[in-house]
Subunit: 352 residues, 2 copies
DNA sequence: ATGAAAGCGCTAACAT
DNA sequence: ATGTTAGCGCTTTCAT
């Protein structure tokens, strides 16, 4: 069996309450006694039982991380920030992979609540609040937050991101700009990116062509198929804003396999700035999210709430700025850099 | 406060032992009583406290997953298998990211032992056994295992992988074949891949040229720099076997940025078959590992050991077959497919 | 400064 | 079939 404070107490000839005090640096322990206890503990290779500790303190120093897909490079980038931040503050994190399945999300939340995690960081799939589980545990949403969420969140301004992407394509001079998204109403982030797209059209007095707005899912293959169908039907725009880089890369491949070129025949911009987008062979223009930083912010927010007992206080909504990254996929090389990066434009901020 | 079995006992007018029995489907509970207990439990929205349960059963149904870098696409692929397998069998997994730092590995193992995980799945950085922590917890190594490990492991035959890669390049007709590795003695997997490389040279009666064997680290950037230096020094082989795909992609970029072409000027093969290697823009030949399957095998092995109490039994070593994947980066299109895939060669297996 | 004892929520004997 | 009790390893009053 494992060594317990009782074993130490015996060896050190003190009560086990004293051992507990000594081990936890509490007041009221003779320095000499403390020294002896510590030395015995080390000698016996004592490891405090976090489970027992958790039972009495009602705190597990444990967090749940719920995300749709570890295999999609966007999420590990966020997760890295979360894991590092949690570790620094003495928390361990349970990895929960939902495979984009909201039922699995629900199950995981219940499971985590049985495991008595102190809180959850959740990159949710949908945009609807799960009434069954909402509020069960202190939660911080990251990357995407359900509508009307009563919990804190760390996201980027997706409307602005969608706006920047679309505006960039319009500024490049493309007459028609299409949109390829995950699903018509899947997540808030989706809605917002599409909203940003529409805003740009409005601003420029352009008319939205429904034929150039397509929805599928989050898979690369889907982007591939969507564009191939459009090309085969000879009905495709001069430029496409894809809602995320994975989709965009699928589109990129689809375009090439149909014998067309990017950006010459179809220009392309993605969203997220996953690491491969920067590869010289890909050179995908995109909207960047500060992924690791978002992860760190999310844990810090969560742990602050937990430790201050403020979990029920007003939720905080952190909204970070997206950044336009221009690479080769988006513009035929016309126009100056100024035009490509309309940073200084009046009214740069966008409604929402 | 959370609702406990006592609350249920009160409401259902039974002792809390009976509640426990009813909840856990134990024998000796009147069906009617059980029904009542269950209904009260549901009504009160009862969630069993896994912490308390763990304290008495001395089992947490919790696993630790220690890996070097979530951000390197190889590991999430393995992790996905682990997470899914664990979940199916009722275990949750703690994510531990070491950043290729062996001290962090040690710290994590201690931490996990305090958290009373039932076992650990470990993708270790080094090849040396950590005497301080080895055997502290039931462990299954995955992807790489320390020399003389006394615990089970799930790896591929890296010697054979290295051999296949090198043989392939030799078969393509390249006179000189170089090797770029992570570090001279960093991990067993590394050593073995290099060993396979050497074996191929021996088999073909070729002489190894030390100038064409280079070491760096696990970063893409490092591969980039190594090849650029070689090219700048005008001392580079016709083909290169890179110990992993991340390194290989760095090399690929380095070659292109120096104005040379792959495979025409320098042929290239990697190792791992991470997802981007298959991109049509990359087309990196490589040695494939069944990553997700390795993850699943590792959890299953671990949980079997845990649940059978066999943790101290003879460790099992699962060694899977690597697979040669030929894409465009490795051969100028000469020779038939037969030659490219020397599957039927006599003595296809390799010593080790 | 230290010890005795209660109790966290649960399971598992042991009674009845 | 059900209740009583002890105890898992620890923290935390409450005494002394």
């Amino acid at each position: 069996m494992n060594v317990t404070i009782k074993d130490i107490a015996e060896q050190a000839r003190v009560s086990y309450a004293t051992v507990s005090r000594a081990l936890n640096n509490k007041y009221g322990v003779d320095p000499e006694t403390r020294r002896r206890v510590l030395s015995v503990a080390k000698e016996l290779n004592y490891r405090p039982n976090a489970i027992a500790r958790g039972l009495v303190s009602n705190r597990s120093f444990t967090l749940g991380l719920i995300l749709p897909d570890v295999t999609n490079p966007y999420f590990p980038a966020v997760a890295a920030g979360i894991e590092a931040g949690a570790q620094e503050r003495g928390y361990s994190v349970f990895l929960c992979n939902t495979n984009w399945d909201t039922r699995r999300e629900t199950n995981y939340i219940k499971l985590l609540s049985e495991r008595r995690v102190d809180g959850i960081i959740h990159a949710p799939v949908g945009n609807t609040l799960n009434e069954e589980t909402e509020g069960l545990l202190p939660t911080v949403y990251v990357s995407n937050a359900p509508k009307n969420a009563r919990q804190s969140s760390v996201i980027i301004d997706n409307i602005r991101g969608g706006y920047l992407a679309t505006k960039h394509l319009i500024d490049c001079g493309y007459e028609s700009v299409g949109f390829v998204g995950v699903s018509e109403h899947e997540t808030m982030a989706n809605n917002d990116r599409l909203e940003g797209y529409k805003t740009a059209f409005r601003r420029y007095g352009k008319e939205i062509k429904q034929d150039y707005i397509k929805f599928g899912d989050f898979r690369q293959e889907t982007g591939y198929k969507i564009i191939q169908t459009m090309i085969a039907d000879r009905s495709y725009p001069q430029a496409i804003f894809a809602e995320n880089d994975v989709l965009a890369i699928g589109i990129l491949h689809g375009i090439k396999d149909m014998g067309l070129r990017v950006p010459d025949d179809i220009a392309l911009i993605g969203f997220d700035d996953i690491s491969f987008s920067a590869y010289q062979e890909i050179q995908l223009s995109t909207i960047s999210q500060p992924k690791e930083r978002m992860g760190r912010l999310a844990v810090d927010l969560l742990i602050d709430e937990i430790e201050s007992g403020d979990a029920k206080a007003a939720p905080r909504r952190v909204i970070l700025e997206p950044e336009l990254i221009v690479r080769k996929s988006s513009c035929r090389s016309t126009g100056s850099d100024e035009e490509l990066l309309p940073r200084t434009e009046a009214g740069g901020s966008v409604p929402g």
